[in-house]
């Protein structure tokens, strides 16, 4: 059974359909990249998977031991977060809130988990630093550490390398790949199609109103649309 399955899902808002007929599965350990033009509904799909929005029709289900609230995510940060007075540790700890339940404070084990995740992402040395004073790459790592605190099963990301300089963005992709290798399922929206086919195991290509491709990266590269978008052959635009 897949960790996440979408069956004939239609997305949109205010009664307008953006995309319909989305059907795909995500299994444990997959690295799925969702690609497509602006306005094709990638971010809406993300929000729907996170249950921040409901689909117009169709079904999104989780399985294989994953509860619907065990999906962590890393979205592009909001304007409010950019000047938020908080230390790295405070932000990372907030990912553990769902474990604390009604308990007002974090336990030792929870603090330990936060420390381990900061260690994994190489941000332990800046734990006491102020979040808003970090570089873009460091901020993304902090948010990723928070996501890992919330769950180690599936992590959704929306353009994790957006706005990072080339060096930092390669580091970010390597970090994500390492996490994926350690068993974390990754679902990522990306504009960077070259990086997507390099790291992802599966590709979901959404076009205007319908799915253009879903399958393994290997198969994607053989299709016309795959060739077109990666410039590895076929006619250029």
């Amino acid at each position: 059974m897949p960790q996440l399955s979408c069956r004939d899902v239609s997305l949109g808002y205010d009664g307008k359909t953006i995309v319909s007929g989305l059907t795909f599965d995500v299994n444990k350990g997959d690295y799925l990249c969702i690609v497509g033009d602006n306005g094709s509904g990638k971010s809406t799909l993300m929000k729907t998977i996170l249950r921040l929005q409901t689909p117009l029709s169709g079904k999104i289900e989780t399985g294989d031991g994953v509860a619907p609230n065990e999906i962590g995510y890393l979205l592009q940060q909001t304007a409010a977060q950019k000047d938020f007075p908080a230390t790295v540790l405070e932000v990372v700890l907030s990912g553990l809130l769902n474990r604390a339940g009604m308990r007002p404070f974090y336990s030792k084990t929870e603090k330990q988990t936060a420390n381990e995740n900061m260690e994994t992402l190489g941000i332990s040395h800046i734990a006491k630093k102020c979040y808003r004073e970090l570089s873009g790459g460091q901020q993304q790592r902090v948010l990723l550490a928070r996501a890992l605190c919330a769950t180690r099963k599936i992590i959704l990301m929306d353009e994790p390398a957006a706005g990072l300089d080339p060096g930092a963005s390669i580091e970010m992709y390597t970090l994500i790949k390492n996490l994926n290798d350690s068993g974390v399922t990754v679902i990522m929206i990306s504009h960077d199609i070259i990086a997507s086919v390099k790291y992802a195991s599966h590709i979901l290509h959404i076009g205007r109103e319908k799915t253009l491709f879903f399958g393994t990266t290997e198969d994607y590269l053989k299709t016309d649309i795959g060739k077109l978008y990666t410039h590895t052959g076929g006619d250029t635009v």
Partner: protein, 282 residues
């Protein structure tokens, strides 16, 4: 110098001044606790809107000749707080417009009711008192003090119990929701606590100046401090000190209490901005 000291000592001989100090410090503490979250959530004006609602409710309570108007004012303000925090997300009327609408409607209704059902001859004085809180703090009864103490302590308790949850919904509400937290419940609790703080603070500085009491300590602390915890703790320290200094100054200078406290807050904000600037330059 001794003259000023003598004036203060003399003032403290009066029970009402001691009451005023206790209540003032407690209110300053509560309002600043909430201020950090409100500023960061971009809800600075909610305090202003709610204080106008409380003004309207007070006017109606006065017209109905209620002996203890807090029993009417508090629930009305709470309901409006919940409604206002809700509209922030997705509604036809955007958050800031909703706040503006509710606050002017309440203000107008309140003033109308006060005029139509005038119970005193000094209407202008009454309105001025509610809006600027000039002398209300010095006319507190025993019951008023106890109500203030109990409400303030509950605000502090709730805030401490939900501290990490409030941080999470302030920093990233969507993340909190998506990872299985009851963000809506925490927002609701926040709204109720805000309403309590507003109704309390109205006695100290009056309806028009509450925003200053809520916002200034938080933004002053944010100039200098960098973690959520230190900002929260320092905004409480700043707020309590400003309130105490403001109240003492108002006794010595014979100025209106609310306005004096706000003036002290403005000066402290300038000071902290300067310290923050220096820190960044070094």
């Amino acid at each position: 110098m001794t003259e000023i000291f003598d004036t203060i000592v003399l003032a403290f001989d009066f029970t009402m001044v001691r009451y005023a100090m206790i209540v003032g410090v407690l209110i300053a503490m509560c309002s600043s606790l909430l201020g950090v979250t409100l500023v960061l959530k971009r809800f600075s004006f909610i305090g202003d809107g709610l204080s106008h609602v409380a003004f309207g409710a007070m006017a109606i309570a006065a017209a109905m000749n209620l002996t203890n108007n807090i029993l009417f004012v508090l629930p009305v303000t709470m309901v409006c707080a919940v409604l206002l925090l809700r509209t922030g997300q997705n509604s036809k009327i955007k958050g800031d417009a909703a706040i503006a609408m509710i606050s002017v409607s309440a203000l107008a209704t309140g003033y109308l009711v006060m005029n139509v059902f005038a119970t005193t001859t000094n209407l202008a004085g009454d309105v001025c008192t509610i809006l600027f809180g000039s002398t209300t703090i010095l006319t507190l009864t025993n019951i008023d003090v106890w109500v203030s103490v109990i409400l303030s302590l509950s605000v502090v308790t709730v805030f401490t119990m939900f501290y990490h949850k409030i941080f999470a919904v302030t920093f990233d509400e969507d993340f909190a929701t998506a990872t299985g937290n009851k963000a809506k419940l925490y927002n609701l609790i926040l709204a109720i606590v805000i309403a309590v703080v507003i109704v309390l603070a109205m006695r100290l500085v009056g309806a028009l100046l509450i925003t200053a009491l809520v916002i200034f300590p938080a933004i002053s602390a944010m100039r200098v401090f960098k973690s959520f915890r230190s900002v929260t703790i320092w905004s409480v320290i700043i707020s309590v000190k400003c309130a105490a200094i403001g109240m003492l100054a108002s006794i010595v200078l014979e100025t209106p209490v609310g306005a004096t406290i706000v003036a002290v807050n403005i000066i402290v904000f300038g000071l902290f901005s300067f310290i923050g600037l220096l820190r960044r330059m070094i």
